[in-house]
Symmetry: C2
Subunit: 389 residues, 2 copies
């Protein structure tokens, strides 16, 4: 007699079925909170990583009672970088995009220099999705906190008690499988997770929001998720997400060790071929499962397709940008470290704009997969050499 | 070698697995388009009904090159009504909320009277989620189109060719199972669907957007869904949604007939009891599966809990608002038809604010369920009569 609430079950219904579903949902929330060393009330469920990043950034901007200034880097995921540009275009925020260094890591001092009186948010990703570099999150958090103490407390438009701006957000989507997610140790106020990068997790997103942080909703609607994210929670996927996140945490250290070895072996084998190549991004501070390589003069899109034809799935840039003609703005940022916003290299100029090939390993990747990849890659490069040099 | 794109499969990856997934997704899009008599390029997938409604409203507002004016009614779902209030509060739009008549149906002439030079959007739900009344969508569409012809074409900020404002959006979430979804016949420019109200459908939303309609994204991010809705598509759920929508269409007329009979029988049986009651909403223009009843002096929340304790799941208002103390603003709107925005009745004043009990039937509801419900309800009312009169 309640089909209009939901064809399955709605955790916001007050009848028994609703209450049972609500209990399961809150249980999942508690599990996610435990992994982050946070409180259940600090976990907001969204539809995915893109929405979580948007909610963190737009939510802080909308909650500010003045025209706010926000800071990020030039190698963030499009769901951060494009959100910054959208807010600037709509005159809702002033933005600063800090360029990373040649190794794909941002210098915290360069962020510090950009913090102004009206800076409400610094958003720096935990680990990069293309080149796997790990940013100095704890150090940036300290920088932001230091500045925070020295400014007056600004009351938010929503009327909440609040210890002051700027806030610090990190997109931890690519970090979730391998890095420490303790929000207290990291010193972050907002943190994004996505189910789509965790094996067995549902298609949902998480936004950790430290309790006193004022965050305004993007959507108008119902009372779900503390009215910060209206819309019926996708509880079947959330339940899957919570279990998968816990499972990933249990094998995190072991997998990180195994994959680091495997990636080191991969790089060694690649260097052992006759091909000329550049490994993109810092060799120390990187995800254990990421190898991003540029083969000078050889277009990386072509390599991805040639490898795919031989059963090897990898990518040339963020899948979120795959319909664009241009190359990778992340790789471009490493080559051109003075640019605030690296120009998207033109699609036609292949010799100049070959991008990088990203290999991202996972639970099922074994040594023989690396051996096969290197063998096939060497064959492809041999074939392509005739045309590109 | 592509775990960073997705732990499962990403339809935006250019390798073979990505291409296969993309094909499945586009197939699902074609199926949804067929049901709506639309083109595949006019279907945008979102995370749910709340997001689709927000995207329709905020997207039109952001695409306008001036301070826009938008119109809706006072019994819309919170994801429409609260979005209007959010945009007004943020000074991004001027809003008008037209009150419905005593029967829960809006008079198109009252909408016509409110259309101004800067009106960009009229949003009226197809069928109401609480009382099931069906709005005169075709008539409102004609009104809007008539006005559109008489105003000059305004170029959008996004630089698209466009035939002029105001646009017409309808939230068809509650209508999907039973009413005609032919967008050409309805005359709508934007239409919202949600998987959560269709049996077997995944937790996704759809926004139909007529091709020339300028719509700006809410989220910054990747290129998915024509860059109007960035974020990796939830393709496993989208596939389920497309099949379930097709299946619902096939049995639509038969189910509508069966449920209309069942609801008529339900009302007849209810009237046969000694309880005094009011059937809320128009008796002709209503969803075939909805019966909303007010039992004067008896709080509907209490009835929902008493019924739940006896295995009958129904509701007292939108589940999206269940955490609020107040009663139903939809029922309140029927009693107070001059109010632009009906005051939310105070929670404490039970005698004045008893709301309504919504019974919404579905595929598994049979005559014996109605008989059982009426029997149990009569017992509960008998018991409660002593305390509330």
């Amino acid at each position: 007699m309640d089909y209009a609430a939901s064809a399955v079950s709605n955790p916001s219904s007050i009848h028994e079925l609703g209450v049972i579903t609500r209990r399961k949902l809150e249980n999942a929330r508690r599990h996610v909170a435990e992994v982050l060393f946070a409180r259940p009330g600090e976990i907001i469920f969204t539809s995915g990583g893109t929405e979580s990043n948007n909610l963190a950034i737009q939510g802080v901007v909308y909650a500010a009672s003045f025209l706010p200034h926000i800071i990020t880097t030039n190698i963030e995921h499009p769901s951060v970088l494009e959100t910054f540009k959208l807010l600037e275009k709509r005159k809702l925020a002033q933005i600063t995009i800090v360029p990373v260094e040649k190794n794909g890591i941002v210098d915290p001092r360069k962020i510090k220099k950009e913090i102004k009186k009206n800076t409400v948010l610094v958003s720096v990703m935990y680990a990069n999705n293309e080149i796997g570099t790990i940013q100095p999150i704890k150090e940036i958090a300290k920088t932001v906190r230091y500045f925070r103490k020295s400014v007056k407390v600004k009351p938010s438009r929503e009327g909440l008690t609040f210890t002051g701006y700027p806030l610090f957000h990190t997109d931890a989507v690519q970090a979730a499988n391998y890095l420490d997610l303790n929000v207290e140790k990291l010193g972050v106020d907002l943190l994004t997770l996505s189910g789509s990068k965790i094996e067995g997790a549902g298609r949902v997103g998480v936004l950790y929001k430290k309790k006193p942080v004022p965050l305004a909703p993007i959507f108008g609607g119902g009372d779900q998720e503390q009215s910060i994210r209206p819309g019926t929670e996708n509880w079947p996927e959330i339940l899957k997400f919570a279990s998968a996140l816990q499972a990933a945490q249990k094998i995190k250290n072991k997998e990180a060790k195994r994959l680091t070895k495997l990636c080191d072996y991969f790089i060694e084998r690649l260097r052992g071929t006759s091909a000329s190549l550049i490994i993109n991004g810092d060799l120390e501070n990187r995800l254990p499962n990421n190898v991003n390589v540029t083969f000078p003069k050889i277009p990386s899109d072509l390599l991805v397709l040639e490898l795919s034809a031989r059963g090897i799935m990898c990518s040339s840039k963020s899948a979120c940008e795959s319909s664009r003609e241009e190359g990778s703005y992340v790789i471009e940022a490493l080559r051109n470290t003075s640019a605030r916003q690296p120009a998207r290299p033109a699609g036609g100029d292949l010799a100049e704009n070959v991008g990088g090939v990203r290999f991202s390993l996972g639970r099922d990747t074994q040594k023989q997969d690396i051996d096969y990849t290197v063998k096939v890659l060497a064959q492809i490069l041999q074939k392509l050499k005739k045309w590109y040099n």
